[in-house]
Amino acid sequence: MTKKIGGVILDVNNISLSFGGVKALTDISFNVREHEIRAIIGPNGAGKSSMLNCINGVYQPQQGTIAFRGKTFKHMNSHEVAVMGVARTFQNLALFKGMSVLDNLMTGRNLKIKSGILMQALRLGPAEREEIRHREFVEHIIDFLEIQAYRKTPVGQLPYGLQKRVDLGRALAMEPQLLLLDEPMAGMNVEEKQDMCRFVLDVNDEFGTTVVLIEHDMGVVMDISDRVVVLDYGKKIGDGAPDEVRNNPEVIKAYLGTGH
């Protein structure tokens, strides 16, 4: 598979984050290139999710800057980040449980909806046409993720693996330029993991979406990512192509411990 990897789209510079006395991240720098799948891996508690939450604007790092498409930001909330074209999924599913799969995905279109409340309420022509256009887009995602059968099911009633897919679908509905996936394969069986890998690869391939994904299962990550960052205890201990990282002694030490 050959793909075009573009220039740097996300640039993370010297990020440090601490909660009280606990240092979650220390001086982390790395970048993400357009159209690539970039993984952040590390043992439990390495600071992977904290890193993602910094990029997503949930946490404000004490030091360092993050630049997205050359635009540097320091204090931004998740809403502003979403407006810039960054979507995310959640490690512990944060779907709208009482709503149907379709409605969940449609909320992802929220930023794209231009017609005002009054127009929507009165079901005026333009608002109606816009709604139909968005619905078509969402149907496309539903087909893509193979969840046609569950369109009208309340998300809370779906099994875990499918909920993960809906979570991905909602993020895709935003047509993001950058997609952040927080442990998309956590808690899944082998088959579900393979499905999810396929979806992530397809998204990247078909839509050209840049993907940053977090995972602690090394096996999965090595197969699908272009470059890998390895964190341990909040510090970066490795960065590079999967093979390179796999043979890095520091990484082996972090994952397997030192021999005595």
Binding site: H79, V81, A87, G98, M99, T107, N110, G156, R170, M174
Partner: protein
């Protein structure tokens, strides 16, 4: 038979008005997960504003038309509710994003006292008459069906119609518009809603505006029936059992709950009252709510809470 029907209808009318107040609770809870204790205070505030504006506008403009006075008073009072909604979002809620439900509840308690005081400071604390031109004379119906027919209050009929229209409108808004969808999304999960770019502040402003309008309509109808006075806030307490019965997250639930409580109150008062010395109307709703809490804590139409262990 006629007497039973009359009692039943009377109950339905009162119930419709309970529903209106309950609706305010449900709207805000649905959209922000906040149990808004201030709904009763908002009803009073809106009713006070409406009554006083209707009184002042003929004096300011010199136009002695009841319709004009009422219409402009309604618009002005509505605008005031919007300002109030904006202030509440700006000064209180914005600072409490992602906080515990209990914190938000306490905040609305504070807002309750503030609005109570503010309303009476601006508009005075007497009992005010509010004449929105509703016909007061009763009509007879079904005279040919059975002997004597039944007596219906025209005012109640109109009130019920207004309430029903408002409810239908709101259900459409919640279920069929993309803003309604965003509102439901925010209610489910603040964090996730923000991450997909739903602006919390705007959503909260909208929902408090809508709740403000619901309060205005409820206050207007109650005020026209009973006069605008402080006791309107206790209406909110009556709406609590309605909300418990219907389910905190359901618009139709608020309606059905209100009707059940209204009818239950009246029927029990008339038919059971004599055996226990009367006064059932006062506590009936609360006992019913208690029974519901025991057997169906999510209410008639509420979403069942399923916890994945």
């Amino acid at each position: 038979m006629g007497f039973f029907l009359e009692t039943l209808l009377g109950g339905l009318m009162v119930g419709m008005l309970y529903s209106l107040v309950a609706l305010g609770f449900v709207l805000i809870f649905k959209a922000s997960g906040v149990f808004n204790f201030a709904q009763g205070a908002m009803v009073l505030f809106a009713a006070l504003a409406m009554a006083r504006f209707a009184e002042w506008i003929p004096q300011w403009t010199g136009i002695q038309s009841l319709l004009f006075a009422n219409l402009s008073a309604f618009v002005l009072a509505g605008a005031l509710m919007f300002v109030l909604a904006w202030l509440i979002e700006r000064l209180v809620l914005r600072h409490l994003v992602n906080q515990e439900g209990a914190t938000l509840l306490m905040a609305t308690l504070g807002i309750t006292y503030f609005i109570d005081g503010l309303g009476q400071t601006i508009f005075g604390s007497n009992v005010y008459k509010l004449d929105i031109g509703m016909p007061k004379e009763p009509v007879m119906a079904f005279e040919n069906v059975f002997q004597g027919g039944i007596l219906i209050n025209k005012e109640d009929l109109i009130a019920a119609a207004i309430a029903a229209a408002l409810v239908a409108l709101l259900s459409l808004f919640f279920q069929k518009t993309s803003t309604g969808r965003a509102l439901r999304a925010v209610a489910d999960d603040h964090q996730a809603a923000q991450s997909i770019g739903i602006p919390l502040d705007r959503i909260w402003f909208i929902v408090w505006c809508v709740a403000g309008v619901a309060a205005l309509v409820a206050g207007m109808i109650w005020g026209s029936k009973l006069g605008v006075q402080f006791s309107l806030t206790t209406l909110a307490l009556r709406a609590l059992p309605v909300v418990i019965l219907g389910g905190l997250t359901s618009v139709p639930g608020a309606i059905i709950g209100g009707l059940i409580i209204g009818v239950g109150e009246k029927l029990s008062e008339v038919y059971l009252g004599p055996y226990v010395g009367g006064g059932i109307e006062i506590w009936f709703a609360y006992v019913l709510a208690l029974v519901f809490l025991l057997f169906r804590p999510q209410g008639l139409f509420g979403e069942k809470i399923i916890d994945r262990v």
